[in-house]
């Protein structure tokens, strides 16, 4: 199995790391997330043509994750999506769709076990 770089960082270091990558001409590939024990694991993937880097943070219930849309403007779609499907409290997304991106009837369907304000 080929190894891929995954840096686990704490949520408040995220913006600093993202800015460093942006200055090194990295492009944001995707933000993925998955349920882990007591929280949501978010992976930010970046690519610079010959290098593929992932930043990983764990959003604990009640944590506020700051949006990186001030650095990577197109991250807003990913962040809105994660906010709606997983219920991660991401703040400062621009533009913030306020749970109106997806027309779904269930709140935070991918995190149904714990309800929407638990994480």
């Amino acid at each position: 199995m080929a190894q891929q770089t995954i840096n686990t960082i704490s949520p408040n270091e995220l913006l600093a790391y993202a800015l460093r990558l942006k200055n090194a001409n990295y492009r944001l590939v995707a933000i993925s997330s998955s349920n882990v024990e007591n929280g949501i694991e978010m992976s930010y993937s970046f690519d610079s043509g010959n290098d593929f880097v992932n930043l990983r943070i764990i959003a604990r219930p009640g944590d506020e994750i700051e949006s990186i849309s001030s650095i990577y403007s197109y991250s807003f779609l990913y962040e809105n999506e994660i906010k709606e499907l997983f219920g991660v409290n991401i703040t400062g997304i621009s533009p913030d769709y306020k749970d109106k991106l997806y027309r779904i009837s269930v709140k935070t369907p991918f995190n149904a076990k714990e309800g929407d304000n638990n994480g």
Binding site: S34, D47, Y72
Partner: protein, 359 residues
């Protein structure tokens, strides 16, 4: 400066039979802002991974979208193979590449037809789709399905193509190429097409990078990004050069896609010339444990597969970031400042696949 009006565009709209909704804020006839809302066909396929085991999910992954169906299956299988450390036989890698490139031709032909339709050029639309039919017949003959092939499996492919059929594919492609190059002249030279595409929706190289565009959208603006160069499947053994344009308008995007069809034909020829004999599948046993990010180049651009497994037969998470999702910010940018009448062509120009976007 006129009064601001909001026109709801979609979910039923004249571009393609897939639901996307845009609120277009207009000043007179000029779009000043576009606000998307999607999710009309959110099916929760990513969530389904908790109910279907990792082998069954191959068939679910293929059904994310009908056009890039094969590459969805392939991306998913490649992720699982990377996690489990499975070495796919070389012949299977080549067969996958052949099917993937045929899918690219069929997708681009579909797009060209839709473009002609959006421009109101009905006969061109019919002829593009007539040519596409030959590719669909190749699919049915080799895989059994016209749209969903169910041919990619974890550890290889499920059906082989014998040398007789490979020869037949080459001759079909020869005929296709001849007829296709006649049609491309209409797309690239005809005044009625040029007047509707040239200079429309210009996306500069800088803007395309800033907005994270992928695929033909980025390549038409001069960004050299093509995942096939990373050499997955058999692409590492083929000669491949990304097709770039610099203008960044609708015409450039059309031109990139048109030339990519010729490139795909060339890649298939290379594959058929080089394809080795041998096994097409290795047996896979056990359950995956680990996580992996796979990226490949779909007709619409780069797709990312994130698969996380926990050692049981049910996966923890499958996440698909499709190219249309990545291209929406670029689309919103190009819509600003265009005329209302050009909106259908502009939306089409990113080659939107809404069912991919919403999974």
């Amino acid at each position: 400066m006129g009064k601001e009006t909001v026109i709801p565009f979609g979910p039923q709209h004249p571009v393609l039979p897939e639901p996307i909704h845009l609120d277009l804020v207009l000043e007179d006839e000029t779009v000043v802002e576009a606000i998307p809302s999607i999710g009309y066909i959110h099916r929760g396929l990513e969530k389904l991974v908790e109910k279907k085991d990792y082998q069954q999910y191959t068939y679910v992954a293929e059904r994310i979208c009908g056009i890039c169906s094969f590459m969805h299956g392939m991306g998913y299988c490649m992720s699982i193979e990377s996690i489990m450390g499975v070495q796919v036989p070389e012949r299977a890698e080549f067969l996958r590449t052949i099917w993937a490139e045929l899918s690219r031709i069929h997708s681009h032909m579909l797009w060209l037809g839709l473009l002609a339709d959006a421009l109101g050029f009905e006969s061109l639309f019919m002829h593009s789709w007539r040519l596409r039919e030959q590719i669909l017949d190749i699919f049915e003959e080799t895989t059994g399905g016209r749209v969903i092939f169910s041919v990619c499996d974890i550890g290889g492919v499920r059906r082989d193509i014998d040398s007789e059929t490979l020869k037949k594919i080459t001759s079909i492609l020869d005929g296709f190429e001849k007829e296709y190059s006649e049609i491309t002249k209409v797309f690239l030279n005809d005044s009625s097409v040029i007047l509707r595409t040239q200079g429309l929706g210009v996306l500069s190289k800088q803007a395309a990078f800033e907005l994270g565009a992928v695929g033909p959208m980025a390549r038409a603006s001069g960004i050299d990004i093509d995942m096939r160069k990373s050499g997955y499947a058999a692409y590492g053994k083929l000669k491949i050069e990304p097709i770039l344009e610099t203008a960044g308008d609708c015409y450039a995007r059309t031109s990139v896609r048109i030339r990519e069809v010729f490139q795909s034909i060339d890649l298939i020829r290379q594959c058929i010339a080089m394809i080795p004999e041998g096994e097409i599948k290795v047996k896979v046993s056990g359950n995956p444990n680990g996580e992996y990010f796979t990226r490949l180049e779909q007709p619409r651009g780069e797709v990312l597969y994130y698969v996380k497994a926990n050692g049981t037969k049910f996966l923890d998470r499958v996440r698909v970031r499709t190219p249309t999702f990545a291209n929406i910010p670029a689309l919103l940018e190009t819509l600003k400042g265009c005329q209302l009448a050009d909106v259908p062509v502009l939306i089409l120009t990113i080659d939107p696949c809404i069912s991919c976007t919403e999974r």
